[in-house]
Amino acid sequence: MSDRTDHGVDSQIDRALRAIVDHGRTVDLHARVLSAIDAGGRFRGRAGHGRWPAFLGVLGFRRLAFRVALAAVLGVAVFVLWSAVRTAPPPLGSARGGTTQPAPVSPATPAPGGSRALNRSAAATLAIDGREIVSPVRTAMTHRRRATRAAESWNGGLPPLEAPAPIELEPIGEPHMRVAHLEVERLSIAPLEMDALDGSEEE
């Protein structure tokens, strides 16, 4: 009796297992396989079920460790970009209406008694209303491009300015004190435009 019951359960399990693996269902992969072969072996799955391109498999992208490493690298890259964007200086356009003044000369600058021509990025170290607008160390292309774009929007149809003259530093007695004479005509235009918009007289 028990053997018969066991046999019955066994046969039911067999039937269920065969049903699970879809035993007896018709399959027709012929057309798909041959078209994939004709197409050079590229995978042609069902519509909407895209697969990784083949070269990613060659690169090891199908391996879990590689994907985790790639995700980590991408995460670090995104974090670096995000932090760079956060620490970027405000655009020049935000300084409209302010007054320009020379930036305080860094104590680390030149040896006493001599004058020194600063490069263009250093010359852009100005402060508007006490706020630094372009840092000398931020010479990345994105910042330069942003500054150039803002300056172009300020200048409108004005003729292009000449290249800024080198800055000369003059000693004024104490070895570490310098006065910087800056000629930054471009940055002083902004307040004039604001005045014109307000209807006040241009100076």
């Binding site: 879809d22 012929h30 199908r62």
Partner: protein, 187 residues
């Protein structure tokens, strides 16, 4: 025409000969993939990949084993790769596309019996899924009826004696769990 002859023709670039091989063995390939894949569509994709891969690897087929065994081994590797892929794991965690059984086990029976059969199959499916892979894979491969134990041994890299024991053990566990759910008494 034997498989070996078709393989020789396919090696020379005859896609029609390979097409005939596809016709002969595609069902077994899909069933083998179905052991691992949770949906029929996934299994068909895996089988297709394996068949295309077999076409490209035909030169490496030494003829020691039958073409069918060689193809099923390729299919098994592809299916395992898919099961272990991160994307598939995430999909398994989030999706509900787990294909259930849709066809009656014994067509022509009464509706009550057919529903009971379907419920039984779903129960078995859930229990099989709960088995560890080392028990589940041999059990399902043996149930598919496409491989001998020697072929399964080659595919899984496990001695055939061990595989037989695992299949027996898996069936015993299934029966115990079915009995615990009252199936033995009810049916």
């Amino acid at each position: 025409v034997t498989d070996a002859e078709l393989v020789e023709q396919a090696r020379l670039g005859d896609t029609a000969a390979f097409g005939e091989l596809v016709r002969r063995h595609q069902a077994a390939a899909v069933r083998t993939a179905r052991v691992v894949c949770r949906s029929r569509e996934d299994a068909e994709d895996v089988a297709q990949e394996a068949l295309v891969s077999a076409w490209h690897k035909l030169d490496g087929f030494r003829g020691d084993a039958q073409f069918r065994t060689w193809l099923l081994a390729i299919t098994w590797r592809h299916a395992l790769t898919r099961r272990e892929s991160l994307w598939r794991r995430l999909r398994r965690m989030t999706s509900t596309d787990d294909q259930a059984y849709h066809e009656p086990v014994l067509p022509g029976r009464g509706i009550d019996e057919r529903l009971a059969d379907e419920a039984f199959v779903r129960t078995v499916q859930a229990l099989v899924r709960a088995l560890p892979a080392k028990l589940r894979d041999p059990l399902m491969l043996a149930a598919s009826g496409d491989c001998t134990y020697a072929e399964m041994s080659e595919m899984l890299g496990v001695p055939s004696g061990t595989l037989k024991w695992r299949v027996m053990h898996a069936r015993r566990r299934l029966k115990e769990q079915l009995a615990a759910q009252g199936y033995e008494a009810a049916r």
